[in-house]
Point group: C2
């Protein structure tokens, strides 16, 4: 029973935060949707802020597992590995598109919580990306590049459709929630890896 | 006098929205900061929502002027023109970095206002980008590509540092508010245009 109400609170919070934003959601809204009383939420999460942090942690724990899963293929070469990471991440983000959009939007706000989450998760992600890029340059698969600026581009590719979902829908008529999108977009990222990173092979 | 208080309200609103978000700012906060009374704000903008729309319009009117300024160089070729557009836009966005971050973050929320702004401004921007890309393909400067997906990438490059400013600072130690960044980042975008879009020249 207890576990069920905790789970119900989390699901209600994710769905309300996603639809109405963090500031637009009250603890009472969450309690009503989860069919629990307010004291229950305080018991598990202390506050709305606590719940938000729990959402971040849930999201990024899984996110990092995906990154590590992709990274595990480094034996097959740096380019293969980076493509694998992109494919696994884009699929994960598309599968959770509304939650992803909410989390990424919150991560764009400069707050104490965001800084802590970045230090914990994005620094690790950076470590993996940097390793792949460095090994790629060493093995002459990739051309030498400014690693930070390459990470800006790659992370831009990974986050763009979720931070700009209304733009994709309204202006470009692309629908990141459709299965087709993840597959096609991953191919575009692969092309970016081939063209921007890889050493040119003579035709 | 009247013009001055209107200007003061706008400046106060931009600065408070940027620092505390739209939901975290009250009309009273704005009135206090602008040293006007609340009725003044109602007179000029009706409501906080009206003020937000005014901010959007101010931002995107100037944004579109920059796009058009870059587009005007199309006679010099599609690749030159796209680089010119990127350079002008990145400089504009960096010069207004906090306002830019706020506007882009608000644009990621799916609302009636956002949809209207997109229809007015981003559709025009898309028209210009599409023209440059199509002409580039026609003149054999660019390889044939899926134009929508190329616009996703390019817009991703243009928006990434502003939607993810805390990430750039905290994780990558890049500072988009420094003059140096705009110049270096524009070179990265130029490289992307050369590698991903342009027909390969034999070395």
């Amino acid at each position: 029973m207890k576990k069920n109400s905790k789970e119900a609170i989390i699901q209600a919070a994710i769905s309300l935060f996603t639809a109405n934003g963090f500031d637009g959601t009250s603890i009472r809204d969450i309690a009503n949707k989860a069919k629990v009383n307010v004291a229950n939420i305080s018991y598990y999460f202390q506050s709305k802020q606590g719940l938000l942090e729990y959402c971040f942690t849930t999201f990024f724990e899984e996110y990092l597992l995906k990154i590590e899963k992709g990274y595990a293929s480094l034996d097959h070469g740096a380019s293969f590995c980076l493509k694998q990471m992109s494919s696994v991440i884009i699929e994960f983000l598309c599968d959770n598109i509304q939650f992803t959009s909410f989390i990424f939007r919150e991560m764009s706000i400069d707050s104490q919580t965001v800084r802590e989450i970045m230090t914990t998760y994005y620094r690790k992600e950076k470590y993996f990306l940097q390793k792949v890029l460095e090994i790629g340059v060493e093995s002459k698969e990739f051309r030498p590049q400014s690693i930070s600026y390459i990470i800006v581009q790659l992370k831009g590719l990974w986050t763009m459709p979720f931070l700009n979902a209304p733009y994709l829908r309204e202006v470009l008529y692309l629908f990141p929630n459709e299965r087709y999108f993840a597959a096609k977009y991953t191919l575009e990222i692969n092309k970016w890896i081939d063209e921007v990173l890889c050493v040119k092979k003579l035709a």
